[in-house]
């Protein structure tokens, strides 16, 4: 039902039940927000978005207050501006004055608010007790001193990821975002997805930096640094540097990586092809024996950790194959470089990921020669490019110089929720019938919906498959399965909503437009690519002949299966 309200003396129509903020956004009146995130339930905690409504004794928060007929709203009256400014000043009183050294210098929302409200001096001074930075986790670092208690991280962790690894602790001015008994983030339910980092308006949550280690390795003449990157990285880099996300971007990226000092660069999608080949074989075996179904994919380390902690009884359902990152690292060290006569211990593999959980994954798979030596996020790569003064506008595309960059488009689809499953369906079909899946494009598994279900007939057997993203959505599905739902064959889970294109290592402040662009880049690549099924990747033929054994054979289990990795700390 439509009603009329008045905003800054202008009549505006609004729908009943809408919040004031929704209306303001629609008509282009900007009010600052801090604790509000459109994907989360509003709490009205920060009071940044307060507006004046005539007749009400107090200012009201636009984010949670609903419109009523003939409300007269002032969004930027002197009273409102004074209140907003004062609130930011109060926050700044407790905030360390170290913007110059802060990870979020330039992307900090508190900085932005302070600028927007023209704060030019420290008005309130308070003595803060020194707090300890939580560095226990290999993926995420917490600096409580910079926390403004907006609660976005804990709401994301609870509402989107569903694990509530961090939550408010204490009361009043002693409130902190913390963990049970103040144990570090590594010793609780945290799955290390890094969504809290993306949600954090300040530098209170950041990824653990691997850059110093990488820079050191690059300067070490005794090492042979190589880099591998996720298929989501080219599009993300294009977006970051204002480039067109087309075929060239891959070659531009390669050139940039070479300029940085990496001797070789690899697209991880090759390893995804191996992953698909193995998983297809494993699935068919499970289907035949009707055991450990539904099979859960295991390429998302946050998801795997979730199962380890909360549903250990489901562990056997997980695909035992290592994630593409770890397979690629193994492949590089044990085959590609060693075939060229470089000793594995000299090779330093850096992986560029849209993900923070991958840092922990690499860290904990370190028995013997660890496949991946350092993982940097897309954000860290952007910094490295800046640090080394690389200007994309002046770069020439670097043609691919190694056969090991050949991958099917299925392998690249791993970057988006549903993509792994789509590739897997093609491989399963090819493996069981020798034919291409028709149609090869599974529309039900595409798009930005958090849960996508498809029914696909392979070799006359109808298979029910589900791709779910956002761990909280997966948890719902787990409940269904636990409550007896037994008609599913394969479940693909990505902890981050929409998968790696929205990973915890991506750009801070990504919006839906960014997500759509990243998605499109992956789907376009699939359109353009001739080789659409992992099994048809010619490089795999070589690898399976010279390095690996038959898919799902004991020999491959040794190299490609999990289980040798150190168990993760709980």
């Amino acid at each position: 039902m439509l009603l009329t309200i008045e905003i800054n003396e202008q009549q505006v129509s609004a729908k009943r039940g809408e919040t004031i903020l929704t209306v303001l956004n629609r008509i282009g009146v900007k009010v600052p927000t801090l604790c509000y995130l459109s994907s989360l339930s509003p709490t009205g905690a920060c009071r940044m978005c307060v507006v004046e409504v005539e007749g009400l004794p107090h200012l009201v928060p636009a984010c949670s207050h609903q419109v009523e007929e003939w409300m007269q709203i002032h969004t930027h009256s002197p009273r409102v501006l004074k209140a907003r400014k004062n609130i930011v000043e109060l926050l700044l009183a407790n905030h360390p004055d170290d913007c110059l050294y802060c990870d979020r210098n330039g992307t900090c929302e508190l900085q932005g608010l302070s600028e927007e409200l023209q704060i030019r001096e420290r008005k309130y001074i308070s003595r803060q007790k020194p707090v300890q930075i939580d560095k226990a986790c290999p993926s995420i670092q917490r600096d409580p001193a910079k926390c403004v208690l907006c609660g976005r991280c804990s709401r994301v962790c609870k509402e989107i990821i569903g694990v509530a690894a961090i939550d408010s602790v204490g009361r009043g001015s002693n409130t902190r975002i913390g963990t049970s008994y103040n144990r570090g983030l590594n010793f609780n339910a945290c799955v290390k997805c890094g969504q809290c980092i993306i949600a954090c308006p300040t530098g209170a949550l950041t990824e653990r930096k691997s850059l110093p280690q990488v820079i050191e390795a690059l300067g070490d003449p005794g090492l042979y640094p190589v880099v591998q990157f996720s298929p989501t990285v080219p599009a993300a880099i294009a977006e970051e540097f204002g480039l067109k996300s087309n075929k060239d971007i891959l070659n531009l990226l390669r050139y940039a990586l070479k300029r940085i000092g990496f001797r070789q660069s690899f697209d991880i999608s090759l390893a995804s092809d191996i992953n698909l080949t193995e998983e297809a074989a494993i699935f068919l075996e499970r289907l035949q024996g009707n055991k450990n179904l539904p099979m859960f994919t295991s390429c998302c380390p946050a998801w795997v950790r979730y199962i380890d902690i909360f549903h250990p009884q489901f562990s056997p359902k997980l695909s035992p194959v290592k994630s593409p990152q770890q397979i690629m690292g193994t492949l590089i060290k044990k085959y590609i470089t060693s075939s060229a006569g470089i000793k594995p211990e000299k090779v330093f593999v850096v992986s560029v990921m849209p993900c923070t959980a991958k840092k922990a994954e690499a860290e904990y798979d370190s028995e013997g020669i660890r496949p991946v030596d350092a993982v940097i996020t897309v954000r860290e790569l952007v910094r490295l490019i800046g640090l080394l003064g690389i200007d994309f506008d002046k770069l020439e595309p670097e043609p691919n110089d190694t056969a090991f960059n050949m991958s099917s488009s299925s392998g690249r689809l791993f970057g988006i929720s549903g993509g792994h499953l789509e590739g897997l369906m093609r491989s399963i079909n090819f493996l069981s019938t020798g034919q291409d899946l028709n149609p090869g494009k599974i529309n039900e598994l595409r798009g930005l919906k958090p849960r996508k279900e498809a029914k696909i007939r392979i070799n006359k057997i109808p298979l029910n498959v589900i791709a779910v993203s956002g761990l909280a959505n997966a948890i719902e599905l787990m409940d269904e399965i636990e409550n007896g739902r037994d008609n599913i064959h394969i479940v693909e889970v990505m902890a981050c909503v929409n998968g790696c294109i929205n990973g915890g290592g991506m750009k801070i402040g990504s919006d839906e437009k960014n997500l759509k662009a990243r998605m499109k880049a992956l789907y376009d690549a699939d359109e353009e690519e001739m080789v659409k099924v992992a099994h048809k990747n010619p490089v795999l033929t070589e690898l399976y002949e010279k390095f690996l054994s038959k898919p799902n054979s004991p020999g491959n289990q040794e190299i490609l299966w999990k289980g040798n990795s150190k168990s993760q700390e709980l």
């Binding site: 905690a45 109060l90 008005k123 001074i125 009043g172 409130t175």
Partner: protein, 649 residues
């Protein structure tokens, strides 16, 4: 009592009393009721107030002593534990009723006085210093030269409807409550009226919520009744956590069935079959009493399924608050009941539409609900006849602080604060002058003497910038430092802030920082801190206004009140602290400078020996001297001086 008797009495009370709506009884019934209510006794009855206030004053020891007295003297007497009649500073209270004579009330009967008091009664040699008065009981012989209890200053201005039974009946005797007319209103309600009629009656009575907000109770009920929902909840908020307020505790400890009856009627009116009493966990006694009372009500069929065959079901559960002031705020209370941190939520939606687990929920405080049975029994017009144009009925206060008499009282709306203080409270203790009255708990205001002729009325109070609050009334004498008191309240509030919204969490902390700066010892202050102090003072008022304006819930919106009201009425005291660095009341220790009065000092040397800073010099037998620059103002010399030779400015 044997089971047969219990069943018998239950049938009698249910059939003859609760269900007899006329209130007119035949002779045998009247007689039997008088016996149940101990108005007619066949042997002596001794009553001891063992509410929390009594217990703190030593009532349990008195009780033991009385039991010993009775058994030693082979007396055939009943001993009954009752709640408090409100006169807490007179605790332990002990009443005695001899057959045929009126009931007597004695004050401050500590263990050591119990025997004398009982002797004086049994030997008819009353000592007047401990005799508070006698009850008015027509038909019984009065004690000579003993004032009527209702005429002594503590009681004579009170109108006691809610407190009708307080301190008189046993709180754990449902029989006594029913015999006094209890549960009749519930019977009438569930059998005679549809729910919306009850809402209407309450709305007609113009009863407003007594927790501080002052929202019309009947309207709140109507909203919940009109909101669709398969389950609704009625909650009694007894999580009284204002420091200095204890009326809720007092009602529960003295007359729990009144709450249960009020709560049941409210539940019926909003269409709820579930009710919860949310009690502060520190109130162990109240918890036990409530559990007992609920059990009794169930045994009488007053709770449970199909009450009086009306089809109305109600179960009441008691939940303990876990200790958070903010849970007095209704949405925070709901969070707490749901098992979460007690964080308030944005309103609207109001709980009456969307409360606990999203169901329509009404939350009323203890006093509000205690008014309900009376209104139903006597009609809305009766209630409306009491009070003023904008405020009807009576109001409970807990009187505390520096008054001669303290405790909890029930006064009609419209009474002036000065008559409460001068008559009921008996003025300020130790002959000191009155400085202010603190009204409404930590986020209340301090009213100066000049404004005390304001009548007790929602409108009149807001006219002078005050709020009624929940009913804490604290009397402050001239020795109170208003800056220090404001600091105390802000300290309390910043500690009790839930921490959710920024203005309340950070703002109250900053206000405390500023007030601490004002009262910090000047000598220990660094230049930086001096600057900070001045900056702070300049900002104090505007910060306070922003906190009021932007905070999420009532706690934050009212948190700056103690500072704002003190600044309004006692500004010069702030200025004295800020600019002269002086605390005239001598409460802010850091601001004291000590001096020795040469006239009184005989050079005993004690202060010199005790001074931790070696700031005192002087030869024995000669007046001493304090070196100002060395003195830290700790006050040890002041405390140890036996000759009152040390003073401070």
């Amino acid at each position: 009592m044997p089971t047969q008797d219990l069943t018998d009495i239950r049938t009698f009370l249910t059939e003859k009393v609760i269900k007899n709506y006329s209130g007119i009884f035949d002779k045998p019934t009247t007689d039997r009721l008088a016996v149940i209510r101990h108005e007619k006794v066949s042997r002596p009855v001794i009553y001891i107030g063992t509410g929390t206030c009594g217990v703190i004053s030593g009532a349990l020891s008195t009780l033991e002593r009385v039991q010993k007295y009775v058994s030693e003297n082979n007396l055939k007497a009943d001993i009954i534990e009752v709640g408090c009649n409100g006169f807490c500073s007179a605790e332990p209270l002990l009443d005695v009723q001899l057959p045929g004579k009126t009931r007597l009330c004695f004050r401050n009967v500590t263990e050591d006085r119990a025997e004398d008091v009982l002797n004086s009664v049994f030997h008819h040699t009353l000592q007047n210093d401990l005799t508070l008065g006698q009850y008015k009981q027509p038909g019984l012989e009065e004690w000579p030269n003993v004032p009527m209890l209702e005429q002594i200053p503590w009681f004579n201005l009170q109108t006691r409807h809610i407190l009708k039974n307080a301190g008189i009946i046993s709180p754990v005797s449902i029989e006594e409550y029913i015999a006094g007319g209890g549960y009749k209103s519930l019977y009438k309600t569930v059998l005679n009226y549809p729910a919306d009629k009850i809402c209407e009656i309450i709305e007609q009575s113009e009863l407003k919520g007594r927790a501080g907000g002052g929202f019309p109770t009947g309207r709140k009920w109507k909203i919940a009744l009109d909101t669709a929902g398969d389950q609704k909840y009625m909650i009694c908020n007894a999580d009284e956590s204002d420091p200095g307020a204890f009326m809720d505790r007092a009602i529960i400890e003295s007359d729990p069935h009144r709450i249960i009856e009020g709560l049941s009627i409210a539940a019926y009116a909003i269409g709820a079959s579930q009710a919860i009493i949310f009690v502060r966990s520190d109130y162990e006694n109240s918890l036990n009493i409530l559990e007992t009372a609920i059990r009794q009500a169930k045994e009488y069929g007053l709770l449970g399924e199909d009450i009086f065959g009306s089809g109305f079901n109600l179960s009441i559960s008691v939940r303990q608050g876990a200790g958070a002031f903010v849970c007095g705020e209704e949405t925070a209370l709901i969070s707490s009941l749901e098992g979460q941190r007690g964080l308030p939520r944005s309103k609207p939606p109001y709980p009456a539409e969307k409360g606990i687990w999203g169901h329509p929920t009404v939350i009323n405080n203890v006093e509000t609900l205690a008014n309900i049975p009376g209104i139903l029994e006597n009609g809305p017009a009766w209630f409306k006849a009491m009070g003023t144009k904008s405020s009807k009925g009576t109001k409970l206060f807990s009187l505390a602080g520096k008054a001669v008499n303290t405790g909890f009282i029930e006064v009609p709306m419209g009474i002036t604060f000065s008559s409460i203080i001068n008559n009921i409270a008996g003025g300020v203790k130790d002959g000191k002058a009155l400085k202010a009255v603190q009204l409404g708990g930590p986020s209340g205001v301090c009213i100066p003497p000049a404004d005390l002729d304001t009548p007790l009325d929602f409108e009149a109070l807001s006219g002078i910038g005050a709020k009624l609050g929940s009913g804490g009334l604290i009397i402050l004498d001239e020795k109170t430092c208003m800056v220090n008191l404001a600091k105390y309240f802000i300290d309390f509030l910043q500690n009790e802030s839930c921490g959710k919204c920024i203005p309340c969490r950070e703002g109250t902390k900053k206000m405390l920082d500023i007030l601490e700066g004002i009262t910090r010892r000047p000598k220990e202050e660094t230049t930086h801190e001096t600057l900070e102090r001045f900056k702070g003072v300049v900002q104090l008022e505007s910060l306070a206004n922003v906190i009021c304006d932007t905070s999420l819930c009532g706690l934050g919106q009212n948190a700056p009140n103690p500072v704002l009201s003190s600044l309004k009425w006692f500004r010069e005291e702030f200025e004295e602290h800020i600019f002269d660095r002086r605390c005239a009341a001598g409460v802010c220790h850091d601001l004291r400078t000590f001096y020795i009065d040469v006239e009184h000092c005989n050079g005993c040397n004690i202060c010199q020996k005790k001074c931790p800073e070696n700031a005192i010099v002087g030869s024995p037998k000669m007046p001493h001297f304090i070196i100002e620059s060395k003195c830290t103002g700790c006050g040890i010399c002041f405390d140890v001086c036996k000759f009152s030779a040390i003073y401070f400015k």
